[in-house]
Symmetry: C2
Subunit: 271 residues, 2 copies
């Protein structure tokens, strides 16, 4: 691990968290749990979501623009909560915003999966663009040479989670999960990376189709790594601010389901 970075730009500066929409709130929830005294600034690029069906070129352009908005708010580090942006644009972001530390969810998730697996047969599910990028597959093989990685895009999972259809006893949820996950079950993986911030909401339904398989949520993995880098600051609960690139109404309507508590307000910013 590099030196603690908090001092470089002031320990009291907020941590920036960036996502294409609401999904990154599952990452913010884990970060705030690990670092309760930190201030956080969250940006959801809701005017242009989803990223997971867009080209690498568009994802890079959007991620750079969105990150600029957070950088302008004086964040002391930037967490890329969106798996698709982490998979496609992390190097571009790190180069553009150096020396600001830029941390994505792919490598922590891949490392956690490499540690969790006994057999070395590891599955990854994510958006079409995240899976097509091969970033998770490469990161898992780097963390565990010789690992067999099976990756699969699950495009219906995001709209299911946004619609609130996540109950594992819901027949639609069960059938969609089975259709996507049957090939992974047949591959006898023992560990599965939930490579999209929406997927933890479907965790029970996913687990039901893959009995005995360890599920790795990148949110928990990156929260641990950020805590290790920043160091835990003692103090009262930190402040959380929310920005979105579309108008806030729809974000606010579903945000609570992802953050685990209501989001009272969010501010519009133009990109």
């Amino acid at each position: 691990m590099p030196d603690r970075i908090a001092r470089k730009t002031g320990a009291s500066a907020p941590v920036g968290v960036f996502d294409s929409g609401v999904g990154g709130l599952t990452v913010l929830r884990a970060l705030a749990g690990a670092l309760p005294a930190e201030d956080f600034v969250y940006l959801g690029d809701t005017a242009r979501l989803p990223y997971g069906t867009k080209s690498p070129e568009s994802i890079r352009r959007y991620a750079l623009q969105a990150a600029s908005l957070l950088a302008a708010r004086g964040v002391k580090c930037l967490v890329v909560a969106c798996n698709t942006a982490s998979a496609v644009a992390l190097e571009d972001l790190a180069r553009e915003f150096a020396p600001l530390p830029v941390l994505g969810v792919v490598e922590p998730g891949a490392r956690a999966a490499a540690r969790a697996s006994r057999s070395g047969r590891i599955g990854v599910i994510g958006t079409q663009s995240a899976v097509a990028s091969g970033a998770y597959q490469a990161a898992i093989r780097a963390a565990r040479p010789g690992a067999e990685v099976v990756a699969r895009a699950c495009p219906l999972f995001v709209p299911l989670a946004e619609e609130g259809w996540t109950d594992p006893s819901d027949e639609v949820v069960r059938l969609v999960a089975r259709r996507y996950l049957a090939p992974l079950a047949a591959s006898r993986i023992d560990t599965l990376v939930l490579g999209c911030t929406h997927y933890p909401l479907l965790g029970e339904a996913i687990a039901a189709e893959l009995p005995g398989v360890a599920l790795v949520d990148s949110a928990g993995a990156i929260a641990g790594e950020v805590r290790e880098r920043l160091g835990a600051v003692p103090g009262p609960g930190g402040a959380h601010r929310f920005y979105v690139t579309d108008t806030p109404e729809r974000f606010l309507a579903v945000a609570g389901r992802f953050l685990g508590r209501p989001v009272p307000s969010a501010e519009h910013v133009d990109v």
Copy 2:
């Protein structure tokens, strides 16, 4: 009906067709069937799709930018194939691009439904933003005073159609259609407007849940109105050009399913 408009900017100029992505190809298919000798220029705003979950402000901004790209290509009229953009931004587009004729799918669809219904109980399904705008509801009531209109957003239908899960015997398709449409069946509608360009792909599954209900596809309705305004030009088959705002790969991969024939190439344009 106003005067024929073809002469105003040259009969040989192409017809512009605009959509947020691939769905508008179902409209282009109907237009080309009704006007086989016309040239068409199609623009899919794939870098920013979907529109149906975005705010009216963002939809208006995107629609104006996208329409500018078509106007710059010298189109003789502009067909807004996207129901969401038609519902939210048609007046803005007509004002901005006057005297260029701008035609949306909402009013033709509403008029066709008003004609088709015997009981006056009419259903509309569409995206969240299209339904929230109330545009279809108002247009149906304008075309048929006293009509009872029941509207419902069906957010899962678009991802189902894009995933290619449209077979009415597919259990997932059947269950999702039933969940969304049961309240409409209970309202004893006799006519349903498919108020999103993706929905005709799910037409059989929708019909199976609403026996005896007439389905109105706005694509057919607007094709008839455009033909009436332009007049049928005799001649050989027209040329079709395709533009997209994201890179073309994913558009080309699914376009054939919507157009009913392969789309060999599409050109990227920046917005």
